[in-house]
């Protein structure tokens, strides 16, 4: 079982992995959109850059989230330590 500190360290690693995922998505968005805009290729009467830049980026984002969730993110208890309450207005 992770300690509170270890959970924070894990959350920090997950945040960094997420930023890397963002960079990957941005690169795919540029390459599959602007990068393909010069090609005179169409799919169902739609320019290839439209398909790549929109559907391609979307598929990339799904893969990024799935990889993050399954490979980089770790499940742990969020409530394993007693907490001081900031919640007010409990008195009857």
């Amino acid at each position: 079982m992770l300690t509170y500190k270890q959970k924070h360290e894990q959350a920090n690693r997950e945040a960094i992995a997420t930023v890397v995922g963002l960079v990957v998505t941005i690169v795919v968005w540029i390459v599959c959109g602007f990068g393909l805009a010069g090609l005179d290729v169409q799919v169902f009467h739609t320019p290839i850059w439209v398909v790549g830049g929109t559907v391609g980026t979307w598929v990339c984002a799904i893969i990024v989230s799935a990889v993050l969730a399954r490979r980089f993110f770790v499940g742990f208890e969020l409530d394993d330590e007693p907490s001081a309450s900031l919640e007010g207005g409990a008195d009857e």
Partner: protein, 495 residues
């Protein structure tokens, strides 16, 4: 024309939403987490599907359904390409802030993000400023949502703008007041489903009216070849892509109405699943609905000024009316109306929590007193109701161009909260002075730049706000004393 067939699906939808809110209220009564935690955070009980849907429904607004597609009708596929940046919204939110906010808020027993900010920076002044900024920008966004929904209602059903505003305005105020955060999350889920349904129905109508997808594409290519280019013949400059990446892509994870959802989920498994499911649904919705704007250009081939009232906000309502029979039009407008009310309900409950929890209850507790629960219950509901009514009244005289108002509020909230949240959670050296300067100075710089129309290199004013906020956070924190280590234990634990 006044169409009962167009009105009926909307009324049925709103009644279902009200029933769900009542159900959520009853379910809440059986939980034992305390009223404030339940009403403003749903007792941290959200599972993956509801978490994903409430985040998407809050994020996707009437602007996504009306203003954005309207612009796409003018610009073409470049606008859809730009809207695609929104596919990152959910994995950024859950991946960067999801675990940290859940851990810290549970450790502190925090119910609002302002609770977290107050504890992190040990500053009541910062918390008060944050609450005020939040309420002001939320109110602005809510007005845009009400106006967008009511305009659409008027255009599609033929009933008056005020009647539309009254019908769904009263419904959303009621079900938010009754259901609290849990009710909002549940109705958001219903709204998310309705949004998808609305997109599918409208897509069917447009494709049918335009003689099929390929025919529509050929019409657009023949009439407006520039709509098939990413820069749209100069209508979509690179700078616009860049700033939209910041405004509706990268920095959306700092929007307080989204961040509060990272404090409300049940367990890490729910977060992981919501991240994948949410990215699938968010992409389908945002790309799909914006693409409908482009496809409308194959059906609505007239002139914007002469034929469609001179506003891009009229495009989608016109497309609905012209491509669908009244009863299907009634179903199609549930989508944008759902987008509108789900955003309003989330902002309404968050505004109410800022006033009740962050300002009033904190003030009472600071005096060493505790408010009786009955008073808290009543006050929470009354404040939610009052904010809703004020926004409703302000919406009776509608402003123009919804997506611009929405973008203004987006930029303001991102500027105010981005570095305060990110540095608060990830940079130990960030302190009260830096946070106060960042939130106050950044927001001021953004609003002044917006008011004067001042831009640097033609970029949207978000670049000014967010840069000023970052510089002030760093300088302010480095030139003043660090926060005491003891106060940071929940945020940067040593063991």
């Amino acid at each position: 024309m006044n169409s009962i067939a167009g009105l009926l699906p909307v009324v049925v939808f709103l009644v279902v939403a009200l029933v769900i809110a009542v159900f959520a209220r009853r379910q809440a009564a059986t939980d034992s987490g305390g009223f404030v935690s339940e009403y403003f955070l749903g007792n941290r009980s959200l599972g993956p599907f509801v978490l994903a849907m409430t985040t998407i429904a809050t994020y996707g607004s009437v602007s996504s359904f009306v203003g954005g597609p309207g612009q796409a009708w003018v610009i073409g596929w470049g606008w859809v390409y730009m809207a695609t940046v929104q596919v990152t919204a959910l994995f950024l939110l859950y991946g960067i802030l999801g675990k940290k906010m859940a851990l810290v808020s549970r450790k502190l027993g925090a119910v609002t993000i302002i609770d977290v900010i107050r504890e992190r920076y040990q500053s009541n002044a910062l918390a008060a400023i944050a609450a005020i900024i939040l309420v002001v920008f939320f109110a602005t966004t809510m007005i845009a949502q009400f106006v967008g929904g009511a305009k659409l209602f008027e255009a599609v059903t033929g009933y008056s703008y005020v009647m539309g505003l009254a019908i769904f305005g009263i419904a959303v105020i009621l079900f938010t007041t009754i259901g609290g955060f849990r009710g909002v999350a549940f109705t958001d889920t219903l709204c998310g489903i309705a949004m998808i349904l609305g997109i599918v129905v409208l897509a069917g109508g447009i494709l049918s009216a335009g003689g099929g997808y390929e025919n529509i594409m050929d019409t657009i290519a023949a009439n407006h070849p520039e709509m098939m280019e990413p820069l749209s013949g100069g209508n979509m400059p690179i700078g616009l892509y860049f700033t939209q990446w910041l405004l509706v892509g990268v920095f959306t994870f700092c929007l307080p109405q989204s961040v509060v959802r990272t404090m409300s989920y049940k367990d890490t498994k729910s977060l992981h699943r919501a991240m994948v499911w949410g990215t699938v649904i968010c992409g389908a919705m945002m790309i799909g609905v914006t693409a409908l704007g482009v496809l409308s250009a194959g059906v609505l081939t007239g002139d914007l000024k002469a034929d469609y009232g001179g506003s891009v906000d009229n495009i989608i309502p016109t497309a609905i009316v012209q491509s669908l029979p009244p009863w299907l039009a009634g179903i199609a407008i549930i989508g944008p109306i759902a987008a509108s009310i789900s955003t309003v309900s989330s902002l309404l409950i968050a505004s109410s929590s800022a006033i009740i929890k962050d300002l009033w209850l904190h003030h009472v507790e600071a005096k060493g007193e505790r408010a009786p629960e009955k008073t808290v219950v009543r006050s929470s509901q009354v404040v939610t109701l009052v904010i809703g009514v004020v926004v409703f009244v302000l919406s009776i005289v509608p402003p123009d161009v919804i997506w611009k108002i929405n973008m203004f509020a987006f930029g303001g909230l991102e500027t105010a909260f981005c570095w305060v949240l990110v540095c608060g959670l990830f940079w130990k050296r960030a302190n009260k002075t830096g946070a106060l300067l960042s939130m106050g100075g950044g927001t001021l710089a953004y609003c002044v730049a917006m008011a004067l129309g001042f831009k640097i290199a033609g970029l949207h004013q978000i670049t000014i706000g967010i840069t000023v906020a970052l510089v002030l956070m760093i300088v302010g924190s480095l030139v003043t004393k660090p926060t005491e280590a003891k106060a940071l234990e929940a945020f940067f634990p040593e063991k």
